[in-house]
């Protein structure tokens, strides 16, 4: 048995799947980096991104069934929505706020992902509200017997909102097929974890609802996959919700409007680089002989092409028509020609 077989075997994944996951992490990173370049070049006014969070997102979402399951993402969920089926072009259409942006038709700020084609529910800005939407989706799945699992994501700062308490309690009472992923990057904008949370671990709260609370190193893609697979299995078989806390690092400022050097030291920022999931996963797969230099080169080329394509495609697409601004306040507000986006 080779090292290769070992790495995948432990979590039941073949080499192709491992490479697909690596590709996702790398793709998400590449798109994300491009966003910042576009922002600094004055092409897009706002960026909020998931650099440092991609490993956890790809690992976790790989355990779901796209097309069946549901996701309610948050603004750092680029890797999550990509893994669930969204295309780089669709991400960039949101970034440029174009008429054909599937998330919102250019109505929302970038980072507010959604897509009916992927069972990705539209997300808003007020944090933590989405846990209740995920609980409701899971309730409907349970009542309708669809076998679906609903997964939702948020930061550790957001996990302190009242809605999280109400959502976990309800999901636990009814053993709903729901998974809450808290991506703990240690900050809510500038507020460090010690001022947001009484304990370092959000997962410690799960016991209060009688549900599993699992902590995973977010730079450990396969570890994240493993805990998610267990949570999905539990949810799908009536075992109820799981709280997964992924310890991640925020490699960028909070958003393009933030200056993180004001509240994080240079040393801290440098040290945090060591928690980047991308080089870690790359090395893991390389050591296992799965990611050869040749494959890596091929992937890099493919990804660069995808990002270029997504960028130029999105940039070339039309802005929304001002006449469309009154559409879809209510179901009956449609373009005179019928049809429309949804």
């Amino acid at each position: 048995m080779t090292a290769t077989e070992h790495l995948g075997a432990a979590v039941g994944l073949g080499d192709d799947q491992l490479l697909a996951m690596y590709r996702m992490v790398a793709l998400a990173r590449a798109i994300d980096e491009r966003m910042w370049i576009l922002n600094r070049a004055g092409r897009v006014p706002f960026v909020i991104s998931g650099q440092g969070h991609e490993g956890a997102q790809v690992g976790i979402v790989s355990a779901l069934r796209p097309g069946l399951d549901w996701m309610v993402p948050y603004y750092r969920s680029i890797a999550a929505v990509l893994t669930f089926g969204m295309s780089p072009r669709e991400i960039m259409l949101a970034q440029y706020a174009k008429a054909s942006d599937p998330s919102s038709g250019g109505r929302q700020m970038p980072g507010h992902y959604g897509g009916a084609a992927y069972n990705i529910l539209s997300s808003s800005s007020p944090v933590a509200t989405q846990i209740l939407h995920a609980a409701g989706i899971a309730l409907a799945a349970q009542i309708r017997g669809t076998g679906q699992v609903a997964i939702t994501f948020m930061g550790e700062g957001s996990s302190n909102q009242g809605d999280v308490h109400e959502g976990l309690n309800f999901a636990a009472i009814h053993h709903l097929p729901m998974i809450l992923v808290v991506e703990n990057n240690g900050y809510a904008i500038s507020v460090p974890s010690v001022k947001e949370l009484a304990l370092p671990d959000v997962a410690a709260r799960a016991a209060g609802y009688g549900i599993p609370g699992v902590i995973v190193d977010g730079a450990d893609v396969l570890g994240a996959y493993r805990v998610a697979r267990e949570a999905v299995e539990r949810a799908r078989t009536g075992g109820g919700p799981t709280l997964i806390e992924a310890k991640v690092t925020r490699l960028t400022p909070h958003s393009s409007d933030d200056q993180q050097t004001k509240y994080r030291t240079a040393e801290e920022l440098a040290a945090e680089r060591a928690r980047d999931p991308l080089p870690r996963f790359r090395e893991q797969l390389a050591t296992a002989g799965i990611l050869t230099p040749e494959i890596e080169g091929r992937l890099a080329t493919e990804i660069a092409g995808l990002v270029d394509d997504a960028t130029s495609y999105a940039e070339s697409q039309p802005d929304p028509d001002p006449a469309s601004a009154t559409w879809y306040v209510y179901a009956e507000d449609r373009p005179a020609t019928g049809g429309g986006a949804g």
Partner: protein, 327 residues
């Protein structure tokens, strides 16, 4: 045709709609075995079971938030907020989420939920069991707001609300539950959302009202009729979207408009009615648009002496009509 109380009309509708459409669920505090604190959902739990009639924890944000999610995944939730006064913990979910789901997703997702809540004073409920909260929601694009005043309308409008593809707030005046009765046809019928009703035809003054005040307006009209003042009463029934045609048609005819609402006067729903009339019927007005509304104190006080002081009643409305008619 049968005579039903306001409450029975609502309860009947819930049962009939649930029988028709298995995707409808009812959820809220005490809606199950107890049948709700006013017994509006009485019997539903026995008939439809606890999967479709869900006693939730005491958490309004959760009631609305999970309704939004459930609606996205194929159900049609009818949520009950035990008292309109307790809708505020769910304010963020209603205003930021339910109201904007369709718009923000560019029609990718809708939010077909109905939120029922008993509102209103005059029942010794004090500051927190008497409120009129409609103005907080009628201001919000994306929401529809209904305040019926008769069993007939309650049934026809609740059916429309449940079948509507957007979030609807349905406010039921708790004082009317058992005190108001009326004819309700046997078959399935709907009253369209967005249509007011002229409940009394008259010539000199238009009184615009809704909910309990629609009844008090009729009583007041009766009183002043004896004094020779002919009053037309418009019962708005749906507050958002507003039926401008019926409203403006009546005022253009009478030339005088009195807006009546139970809620605090300043910034209440009636302010928008007055503003619309003042702008769009200006040339027809031969008197100021006047308002009779609740005083600007933070709630209906409990002691009956103070409660009586607070509440709008037929006599206060009649006084308003007299003043306006004499203008």
């Amino acid at each position: 045709m049968a005579i039903r109380t306001f409450l029975e009309a609502i309860r009947d509708t819930l049962g009939e709609e649930m029988r028709r459409d298995p995707s409808i669920i009812v959820l809220g505090e005490d809606v199950g075995v107890k049948g709700g604190v006013f017994l509006v959902t009485d019997g539903l739990h026995a008939e439809f079971g606890e999967t479709r009639v869900i006693d939730t924890p005491l958490t309004e944000s959760m009631i609305v938030g999970t309704s939004i999610g459930a609606a996205a995944n194929g159900l049609r939730p009818v949520a009950e907020i035990q008292f309109a006064d307790f809708i505020f913990p769910a304010f963020n979910q209603i205003v930021s989420e339910a109201a904007r789901m369709r718009y923000r997703s560019n029609n990718a997702f809708g939010c077909p939920i109905t939120i029922r809540a008993p509102y209103g004073g005059g029942v010794h409920g004090a500051l927190y069991h008497s409120q009129s909260v409609e103005a907080f929601f009628t201001h919000v694009p994306g929401l529809k707001v209904i305040v019926p005043s008769t069993p007939y309308d309650a049934k026809g409008l609740l059916r429309s609300a449940i079948r509507d593809d957007d979030p609807v707030l349905f406010f039921e005046h708790k004082k009317m539950y058992r005190s108001v009765r009326g004819d309700v046809p046997d078959g399935e019928y709907t009253v369209p959302i967005g249509r007011a009703a002229v409940t009394r035809v008259g010539t000199r003054v238009t009184v615009v009202a809704y909910g309990l005040m629609a009844h008090y307006a009729l009583e007041a009209a009766e009183r002043v009729a004896e004094e020779g003042i002919s009053v037309e009463v418009v019962d708005l029934r749906t507050l958002r979207p507003l039926d401008r045609e019926t409203l403006l048609g009546s005022v253009r005819k009478t030339g005088k408009c009195l807006v009546v609402y139970e809620d605090n006067r300043f910034g209440g729903y009636g302010a928008e009615i007055a503003a619309i009339v003042a702008e769009e019927a200006f040339d027809y007005l031969d008197g100021p648009v006047m308002r009779v509304a609740g005083p600007d104190v933070p709630g209906v006080p409990y002691n009956h002496v103070l409660e009586d002081w607070f509440m709008v009643n037929p006599e206060k409305i009649a006084e308003g009509i007299r003043t306006l008619a004499a203008y």
